[in-house]
Structures are given as structure tokens and as C-alpha cells.
């Protein structure tokens, strides 16, 4: 069965680019332009993988990631972060949130710093999906 992948990024160029790469590899792609829209579409469509930007309006990837990983029904969906923000900064922000009384969340499956090469992206996505037994 064709896998569903959700791509959340406020830069529509990124969504278009990632969609093209993934569609070429045979996946079905759902785009979202901010954190809020992404969460609604994740709940509605139950994608097999989520590709997430960090700096987005309305709800940032930092908060969205935390919500995904603490939601029983969503936490098993693998998340690939694709952002211009460095991995270190992202992890530090998650640590800070944990310290402020949140529960600890696992690191994302893969963290990619922008810009990303199309081949690398396709390879990463297929690896993460096969690891998850799909």
C-alpha cells in the first residue's frame, strides 16, 4: 500500500520540493503550512511519517514535536526534522521544556539541517519507514 507522508513547512517552496522528491519515490504527500494545520491533518490522515520544520507561524515545530511525542495515539509515527535550525539548538530547547515540568521526549528519528540533497532525503525516508517495519 502507498505510504502517506505529511510535510509541514511555512515555506511553500520547501513543501513543493519535498513533495516532488517523495512523489518521485512513490509516496503520497500531504502538505501543511503551519503547526496548527499539520496537527489537524496528522490527526485526520494518520500519516506513516512526518517531516517537520521548526520555525513556523502559529505553532512552532518545537511545540508540535512535543505534542506528537506525548500523544499516545501519535507518538509512534516517526518524525524527521528538516530545518535550518541546528540539531543542537532544537535538542536544547526540548531539554529546557522538559526542565520546566514537561515529560522527557525521545530524540527525533532523523534530524536534517537544510539545505538537503534530494537523493539523501529519499534515502533517509525509505530507511526510517523500513526500520518501522513497514
Amino acid at each position: 500500500m502507498q505510504k502517506n507522508i505529511l510535510v509541514a513547512d511555512d515555506d511553500m517552496d520547501v513543501v513543493t520540493f519535498v513533495s516532488t522528491v517523495l512523489e518521485k519515490s512513490g509516496y503520497k504527500v500531504i502538505g501543511a503550512k503551519d503547526g496548527e494545520e499539520a496537527l489537524n491533518k496528522i490527526r485526520a490522515n494518520r500519516p506513516d511519517l512526518i517531516i517537520l520544520d521548526i520555525l513556523m507561524p502559529k505553532q512552532s515545530g518545537i511545540k508540535l514535536y512535543r505534542e506528537l511525542k506525548t500523544d499516545e495515539s501519535l507518538k509512534d509515527i516517526p518524525v524527521v526534522i528538516l530545518s535550518a535550525i541546528s540539531k543542537r539548538t532544537f535538542l536544547r530547547s526540548q531539554e529546557a521544556l522538559t526542565e520546566f515540568g514537561g515529560e522527557p521526549v525521545p530524540e527525533p528519528e532523523v534530524y536534517i539541517e537544510k539545505p538537503v540533497e534530494p537523493d539523501d532525503l529519499a534515502k533517509t525516508v525509505s530507511e526510517v519507514l523500513s526500520r518501522k517495519g513497514g
Binding site: 515555506d11 517552496d13 520547501v14 520540493f17 535550518a84 539545505p115 538537503v116 540533497e117
Partner: protein, 498 residues
Amino acid sequence: MAKLLFIDDEESVRKVFSMSLRKEGYEVLTAENGEKGLEVFMRENPPIALVDIKMPGMDGIEVLKRIKEINSETEVIIITGHGDMDSAIKALKLDASDFLTKPVSDEALSVALKRAQKKIKLKQQLKEYTYDLENMVKAATEEIKRRYEFEKKLIHSSMDGIVATDEKGDIIIFNQGAERIFGYPRFEVVRNKNIVDVYPPWMAKEIIEGLSKGGKNFSWKETSILTKDGKEIPVRFSGAILYESGEIVGSVSFFHDLREIKKLEQELVNSERLAAIGQTVSSIAHYTKNILSGLKGGIYVADTALKEGNMARFKTGWEMIQRNVGRISNLVMDLLNYSKEREPQYQDCFPNDIAYEVCQLMEQKAKDNGIQIVKDFDPSIGKVALDPEGIHNVLLNLMSNAIDACIFDTDKRKKWWVKVGTALDGETIIFEVSDNGCGMDEEVKRKLFTSFFSTKGGKGTGLGLLVTQKIVKEHGGTIEVKSKQGEGSTFTVKIPKR
């Protein structure tokens, strides 16, 4: 037991008196003549001596003199012959404490001795009082001296300059701080100069007037003084007229050296600037990374489309490339505008026309997003000299910000508007751009002009308001912002007429 020396040449008398005196509780020492009596006196130093006036060899008067020489505080009672008033008076003149006439009765002797003892006791008390008093005076003097020294040290070690004058304005205190600030050594001014010679004229005038008419305190103000060498020093100054029991006795002035503070302020500005540059570099890097992603993505999409011969996809890819080239050129233009040192190109123009033009440009975008543009132009402005291109950029930036603020607003029930106003207030031209969009919190407001900062995600360069502020400043004007989160913002630009 009190000691008592009894000198008499008659042995029987010595015996009788000794017995009765011992009974009264005295320790009695006896001697049969003056010489021996003095020997005993010197050895035993009794407080009371009883001396017969008529004795062979040294007489009683002589013994009295000697005893008083040795210890003037000894109570000496003289025993005279009956009716010998001359000797008695002589003895009293020589400071004898009493005299008894022979034959001496026990009662008379007892009374004389009691009186003598009372005198001794009084003297003792007086001595103690005096001693205490002396100590107290000494302690008080030392305390005053200590306080005076302390206050002197306090005045002299103060980092601030302290200058005190008498009622004529002649300088009487000039501490180290004052030396440092004014550049005069203390000895040159103290009791040698009047404040008129040292202070700036207005300051001296205020104080001299205060001294003659009685005056107020001078509260802190920032000013400057001239040193001995004529160098200008920034200071904070305050002063007071001094009164004592309602009389004017002088003045005191305080000077706080502002050179160090000014230097620190400058350093702070510099370090903030450095921090801003660091932040700028990283935000430009971040922004460029995003554009680069877009460009690479566009190339990939176009490439893929070419291989497939898919024209629709090729168009998407090509548009991505165009859009990101556009973003990069915007960034570069903003950067150039910001870094460019340029004088405004003044020419006669109509501010209302510029504002109208900008409204026209924004009309379509506003309409697409359901935002109403309200124009409120003051027709009295007419023609003024401005840099039309600069002002155009300022208004364009403020208006597109206002429209974005409405687009970003999450309260979809609002009827959004952006208002552009012009006004003339005396010699000042006022442009005002306000909106009822999302507004800003304190954090955003604070960062607005200080660093490259954007709330618009991928869309903003974080440079727009900096460029705007720069143009306004080049015109000698000011820009102010009022904003409330969820209610909207108002930017007010004031530019002085030339």
C-alpha cells in the same frame, strides 16, 4: 582608722590626749617637738595634725608651714595659749584648719576633729568629682575630635567633589574629588578663592544669590564645569545653602564626575552594536539557508519535470527559482539600503501624494486579504522639501507591516483596517500608519529597532524597520510605536520641516 599626729612638748598633755583620742578611735602618733614631729609626718603622712604653738626649738607656726609645704591638704589644728589671738590669726592665715585654746576640753577637741574630718571627706569628694569631670571633658573632647576627623575623612575621601564656602562664597572646603574634577590643588583655593573664580558663571551667580537672599537647595542637574586648564568636564551638580540657628553661614556644592559614566555608556553602546552584528550575521545566514533550499528545490523540481516532459511541474519549479531569486535580491537591496550612508535627496514634493501613491500600491494586497485602507490626509501640508524616495520607502514598509499584522491576526471576527494619516503640527510633518491587526507583545516591541529581527518567518528579512528608522533619522526625524497585543499597532513618524 584615721591617723592623727599630736605634737606637744609636755609629756603629761600628750599622754592625756592620746588616751582620749584613742578612745575616739584614732591611731595617735606623738612627738615632743617640731623636728621630731616633722620626721613622723613625713614617714606616716597622717591626714590630721594637732600642733601646740609654743614649743622649744621649732614653734607650732613653723611646723604648720612645713607641713603645708609637704602636703597642703593636711588638716592642721593649732593649740594656742589662752588669749593668744595673734598667734591664732597668724595660724589661720597660714591655712590652719582650726585653733583650740588651752586648756583644751575634750568636747572642743572632738568638735574640731570632726570638723577636720568632714573637711577631708569633702575635699576627697571634690577631688573625685573634679577627676570625673576632667575625665568626662577629656572623653567628650576626644569624641568630638574623633567625629570631626571622621567627617573630615568622609568629606575628603568622597569620590564626588565637595566644595563648601563661607557666607561670602569664599571656599573653605575643597576635597580630593573637587581637586580631581576642577584640576586645582586644595591649597590654591581654600581661603584663597571665591566660587566666582572657580565655578561656571551661572552656577556661581545662583549660589551667591542664595547666600545673600537666603535660598533653596539646588537639585541634581547635568551640566559641565571648566577645569583650571579650561577643559570642559561633564558633571552632575547639586548644592545647598547652609544655615545655623536661622543665619546663613555658607554653602556646599556636590559634583559628580560623569566622564567615567559617559565612557561606560559608550562602551555599552559599542558592545551592544557588536552583539547586534553577530546576531545579524547569524540571521542573514539562516535566511540565506532558507533561500538556498528554495533555489535548490526549484532546480530539482524543474530538472525532474524536464526529464518527464511535464510542463506543469516545470512551471512550478521555475516559479520556485524565480521567487527565491526575488527573495535574495530583496535581502541584498535591504542590506544595501541599510549600510548605505547617504544624505537625503531633498526636493519639493507633496507628502500627501506620496502617501496616496503608497496606498495605491498596497490596495490589491489589502483587498485580497479583506483589509480596508483608510486615508486621512491633512490638506494643509502642501508642498515641502523631503527626500520623496526615502519617505516612499518608509511608508511602504510601515504599510506592508500593517497589512501583515492584519494577515497574521488570528481573530478572524475582526474587520481589519489599515489607516494612513498625514498632519502638520507647526514645523513638523507627521505620518501615521496604524492597524487593528495582531499587535505586538513587549518582547517584540523591545527588539523592534534594536536588532535584525523578524516575526514573519520566511517572509521577512528583519531589516525593513531598521531601514525605515535610518531614513527617518537621516531626515532629522523620529519614529515611535504604540502597540497592544491583539489590538493593533500605531507607528508615528515625525519629520521637521526644512
